[in-house]
């Protein structure tokens, strides 16, 4: 067992002790007290372009993925028969909404278009919380290319309004605390 007792005179032990010590004039005044619960600014996340290639009938792989300007996200679909299709704007938004609404199905795997989209960067934007899986990428390099972006999206899943489908007001009207 580690010794958990601490000396009172250690005024720099942690942020709250520093703040309390400053309030009592035990240490030089500083601004830590304001800092410790200050919010931080966030930036709008970048968009993503995902290229999917149909390697066999309804068997897809992610063959390219890169970031783009916010709002310019796109899915490029290279079909087995040589056809190339793109999803962007409202069409893409509908597709992402479909992914989010049926994630239980897509999450389970398979290499159909829906599942592979779900496991792509676009699926991540649609609300997939789990880390990417190399099985869906043509090679690990493609997957790693968006690591930094993913980190950023993870931190900044934000929107300007409350979720339309959200419920709130839980425990409204309760007086007193709940701790013990």
């Amino acid at each position: 067992m580690k010794k958990r007792y601490l000396r009172i005179g250690d005024f720099k032990r942690n942020a709250l002790i520093v703040a309390a010590a400053a309030c009592m004039g035990l240490t030089a005044c500083n601004t830590r007290q304001e800092e410790w619960n200050a919010g931080s600014e966030v930036a709008v996340p970048e968009g993503i372009i995902t290229e999917l290639t149909e390697e066999a009938p309804d068997e897809w792989k992610i063959t390219d993925e890169r970031t783009t300007a916010p709002g310019n996200s796109m899915a490029v679909l290279r079909y087995n028969d040589g056809r190339v299709d793109t999803l962007r704007g409202l069409e893409l938004q509908n597709q992402l909404e479909n992914l989010a609404n049926n994630q239980a199905t897509y999450q389970q795997g398979g290499f159909g278009l829906g599942s592979v989209l779900w496991w792509s960067g676009l699926g991540f934007m649609a609300g997939r919380m789990s880390a990417p899986s190399p099985a869906y990428y043509a090679n690990p390099g493609v997957m790693q290319r968006t690591d930094a972006w993913r980190q950023n999206v993870r931190t900044y899943r934000e929107q300007s309004t409350a979720p339309r489908s959200g419920r709130s007001g839980f425990f409204r009207g309760r007086s007193g605390g709940a701790g013990a």
Partner: protein, 394 residues
Amino acid sequence: MSANNKITIRLEAHGGDVETAVRGLGWDWCVEEGCANYMPGEAVVLAESEADVLLQAADTLYNMLVQAVPEDLPDDFLTVLGIPENLWPLVRQSWSDDRHWHLYGRFDLAQTPEGPKLLEFNADTATSIPETAVVQWASLAAAGKHEANQYSGLYEALVEQFKSWRLLNEDLAPALLLTYLGASAEDQTNCAVLAQAAAEAGFDTHLCPIEEVSISTEGAEKGVWAQVGAEQWRQFPFLFKLLPWEQIAWEEPELLKSLELLSRTRTVMLANPAYTLLFQSKGMLAWLWKAYPYHPLLLEADLAPLSGKYIRKPYFGREGQSVEVVDKVPVVRVAGEYDAQQQVYQRWCNLSQDSKGYTYQAGVFWAGEGCAIGFRREQGIITNLSQFVPHVVA
């Protein structure tokens, strides 16, 4: 020192102005209203060996609790502990997945001549965090006792616990929402200290009353959301709730349903996890006694009244409400809102006492390990208005 089967508490008076620090931190509730005498100018003097025994007791008891829980959480077991049935899926899910991390809890212990005895374990929504981590330190610092030692390493242990929780769930964005009942400044402050520890552990944190949290289970909006700025809502994959699980289950079943769904899809991680209600239920006191009869850290407990002197406690009572002390006939009864609950009967145990007749209860925080001690005192049953007394290691 013991007399009449009780430990006698040694006190040391000290002066100094702790109020300035408390108000400076914005924790005015600590020194106002019902808490006017919350911080007396006295400290409990504790030998290092006594303090070590208390922390060691927390470690041992925690291991005993974990070992006493049957692995597959059978229905009978959950029924005996009074766990609301709509909470069973979430309790089982969290118990079987190590990524659901118990951040902290507080053991309330009686110091007796035979060593510490478990009164109860506040595993789910323990408070007294600011008092234990900061205010009791400030009270000695204000008195100029800079060379003194104190077992108040709660904050540091919490940072470690938050780090573990984050690293176990690295696939989720480290954004943590801490929520509480908006009417309680005390609960908000407890959350604020937790938030600071979490921030040090690498979380982006935000505090918000539960009334203002928005929860969606649909589509791309699925998740727990809170407003973090003007026209700025953020989704939080980590949620700390200073709300008792059984109250969520009883009073807000829809909220519980949503949280269960979001947890199952790994959209949100919840702390303290639902399985901590197994430890929080006072039915567990009887279960522990069955598993470890006559263990030196335990008091006899049963689901039926005992012979001799005992205390009757509601399963999910808090802060001393609705308890009854019986010594052949009822001798003390504390009014409260928990009368209708299942009850556990625990052998009466004399708390340690000072020369003025105050009795003392040791609150020993567990955050991965026993890490801090804080004392509450009262001339009767310890409640939420009992005085918090700092301690100093002799």
